[in-house]
Symmetry: D2
Subunit: 332 residues, 4 copies
């Protein structure tokens, strides 16, 4: 039996908490959140107790911490967890600062604890089947990747103030997909990156300052090519697709739909919009990443994502921000 | 809090049991199964106790029975539950004999208890969205229904011995879909029915005797038309579709796929096969029908399926068997 | 060089005429139509001369007649063409009367001329690829066929007066598809047929009398099963599909769309309606059947459709009409 | 009646010649090609005479020249046609040199003749329906364009020697699509362009020197964003798609398939590959662009493509080549 403490009783904390609580062989013992009501509510719902970070890190019965608290608390919690030899599942990102993220990675490595980062898209049934088929050679060697990643609507501009910008807040997932899908050869990584973008959705976003529409191009050391296109607003819902061209074919990942109803009438033939947003589209993925995490803790096998993946994606986000600012191609 | 006893710890009993156990405001108290090990295992897994029918029906704390035991036990359990004023959720069919099923319906009505029959397809997200759109008039008045219902593979011939034949065992669901989708006008019901079929999959099935491939045509009193085609074997998986033509358009329900991966290569453009079988395709439906059942118990609203629907579908199955045997059209 | 005379300068005559005129090695010499203006216009457009049946049949330079005139003229023209040893391409049907159609078939056989009937659907790129794949064994032995055949809108009731009824006018094509796709084993043919239907589209059609919505079930001697569903009105356009279930899989033929544009917006994901009607959907098929006809005339190979196919489809239409009238299953 | 002379009796010349010959009100009078046999064959097939450029330009009866000869002859023929006041339809590109192309545009303007460039993709039924729907506001203001443009296989490296490189040879069409779809506001044009690429298909192509896989990013003055991805080899056929994100939704243009057959078997659900290559995919487009050209000549309306479009696309190709060589973003 693994005993777990959860940090964060907000939206994502509740998802992780509920998924942990449903796992066999795992006990959610504590829930910590500075918002006492939220902590109490989640703890009550999931049969856990309210606690504090100090108590959690001092409690030798706790094997694992699950970090779903705000981004700016991640690095501190990771460091403290490593120091107290607890395994870590941490929602992305590690930290908005690459050096701080790197320091966490070093601490984790030194402590010898597991630290998986919540790049849940790698556990999406469609994306993970695509990766499996790529790895078993269904399309030969991958050559090009096109990632489409669009939210159904932009958050209020004030929310974006603390987000770190579109590349760190939103494309961080896409940078991870790029590495997971295109850098499949030993040692292949991004060599050059170019990013540009615009404010096309909401002029308030320009004042943050941030952009709401962006395109990124990455070329790897081996010459593989990746294009990412991202918008804060797709009027038709959450658009999450990628396609890989390989020497022997193409693998495409389509959107998931709520139902398979098709309506034909005088205006056309109409299917459902994609699942509304990430909570719907990635419901299974959020569950499956925690199943995987605890299975790997148990069997000692490799984790599908590590804190090094977190740091690497963060570096690409930084490079994109730098490219946007300078208007120039960044060499990595 | 509703206290529940579950009859049946086999495949379908476990599904219903787990879905009941996960509901808020509902306590699964007892599990009954003549196979003691199965009862113990399921009870243990779901935090319930092993019990017996006699004890269950004598226990005034039990509000609800969920019947997932073999078909030939259904009518007796329904009758005893009605007699002891417990609400009933019963897996389809009510009984292979229409008179016995009708007697259950009468007993239930006399006792004033709720009795919902597990026509889970009415709770499938795709099918239920189709029904909603039909009822809100998206395609005007329904005129024609085409139902395709095919299993991935035939069970062994010996299993079919006690099944009541393809119409009672397999098309019972399709007959319910017919009534649910096409008989939407007050008082409209099947007027004539013609069924024919063949043994095309497995010659052993002829010795049961039964058929493995069937086609049924139903015309309603209002002249609406329905065609059902069914096979025990679809090499590409579980094929569960229907389409309704209305005066203003068509609604089609497609199969569900495990993933949205599409592979393009030198041979074509390939998507996933449908979900493998009913446990996969109707996973959500099995859960949602119990959510609905307990919600309606709570709020007193109408149940989406009743024991009368169970009897009505059974009558159509009987008519189909009679048509097959006589080679003639049956008037209802 | 084959010299051709065309009978009929109406809608279908013009299509066949233009397709003939565009063929290499074929000269459209004469156009005959009792409506002089129509004959003149078509002849002018296609570089031919206006003529009369008497002149055509007396002219030894004419090798081939293409019959695209009204249905009630077909049998007479076929008989005269056979008598004057001219090869025949005749638009379907041979004749609304099976005995007259059979007499034509006898005359054609006795004369030793070719006589192809315009079941153009056998030349539709999608349908003909489906047949090829069936014959090469892609889905093993065929077991079940579901045909969906719906017009975009009903013609005025008065037009239907002379049509011979929905089975002879509209389903004649579907009966041919049934034979072409499901009767692929030597000697297999329809053994029983059941047809029913309703007036659901236009009450005027009841006064013809005729029906506008029909469903037909056919079982072959080998036990293969076919269901056809037909309506005079599909609000979303011309719906022409069929699907064959075989022991190893399924082949589906989808509708053709004018474009591959897909629009995603707040209401859904919308593709084009099917091609509007038969002139659009079967444009290629009309061209390809004449290419085939003249190629076979040249190389002596077997024709994809013969007058015997025309007679056989007519017999099924008669059986369907009889089944509808009697309300009983017809044995063939 | 417009009299036409055709330059070029090779692959593309034959296509244009046959399309011209089939137009009502248009007479193909001459065919010119230094390869005498080819000229003779095409002239014979299309009912024209063999001629020479000198004779054509001296013949006052010729109204229009259609230029389908090799790229390096285009600018000279355009200039001579302008000088002799003949209208011009010229296959793309105008010229591999932007200054020479610009000089042609100046000559054409000075002469007051029409000069349409064969960007046939603008006449593809799918692409042109997409443009229509964009212009009527189906998705609001366009924001992002993703173009996928892949050939089924790379030509031999030696062919590429004279091609001007992948951007001038292949992406020229995509640059035109970018302008047509994304620069729909008065005065909006490309502001910055970044191109990179690799040799991933055939190492011989590196020796040309050229690349076989490329990605291009363009940002317009208004901040609209475009990504183009191109490969010389898609194992699944000719891949020609684009999608536009707008403020109110998305328009996608899918590939065309030879048939609508779908095969479901134990391995999946498989549709046809896209049409094999440009001669198949753009068959209709090649025909429709000439219909449009002669209609506009007749009615005096604006041409869908002009020589200025040809020059503008060429400038983008030059910028892409410069970006690839320098590894830097190019400002336009």
């Amino acid at each position: 039996m693994k005993n777990v403490a959860l940090f964060g009783a907000g939206r994502i904390g509740r998802i992780h908490g509920a998924n942990v609580a449903a796992l066999p062989g795992v006990a959610l013992k504590y829930v910590c959140d500075p918002v006492a009501d939220a902590a109490r509510e989640v703890a009550g719902m999931l049969g856990a107790q309210v606690s504090t970070p100090d108590a959690v890190f001092a409690d030798p019965s706790i094997d694992v911490v699950v970090i779903g608290s705000p981004t700016d608390t991640h690095s501190d919690l990771i460091n403290r967890a490593a120091a107290s030899r607890k395994h870590i599942f941490c929602e992305k990102p590690v930290d908005l600062s690459v050096p701080r993220a790197q320091a966490c990675a070093d601490a984790v490595r030194a402590a010898g604890v597991a630290c998986m980062i919540g790049f849940q898209r790698r556990f999406d049934p469609t994306f993970s089947a695509a990766k499996d088929r790529l790895m078993r050679g269904d399309i030969g060697a991958p050559e090009m990747l096109v990632v489409t990643s669009r939210d159904p609507g932009a958050p209020p501009a004030h929310y974006l103030k603390g987000s770190g910008g579109i590349f760190r807040d939103m494309l961080i997932h896409d940078f991870d997909i790029f590495r997971w899908i295109l850098c499949t050869d030993e040692g292949d990584e991004a060599a050059t990156l170019y990013a540009t973008g615009s404010v096309l959705v909401d002029p308030e976003i320009a004042k943050v300052p941030d952009i709401d529409s962006s395109v990124v191009t990455i070329r790897t050391r081996k010459g593989r090519l990746c294009q990412i296109n991202t918008s804060r607003r797709a009027a038709y819902g959450y658009d999450q697709r990628f396609e890989v061209l390989g020497s022997g074919g193409m693998i495409q990942c389509g959107n998931h739909r709520p139902t398979e109803v098709v309506l034909s009438d005088g205006t056309g033939v109409q299917a459902d919009k994609p699942e509304h947003f990430f909570l719907q589209r990635y419901r299974d993925a959020y569950r499956l990443e925690l199943v995987h995490f605890f299975e790997r803790l148990q069997d000692g096998g490799p984790f599908r994502t590590t804190i090094d993946d977190g740091v690497a994606a963060q570096k690409l986000a930084d490079a994109a921000a730098q490219s946007l600012e300078s208007g120039a191609v960044v060499r990595l």
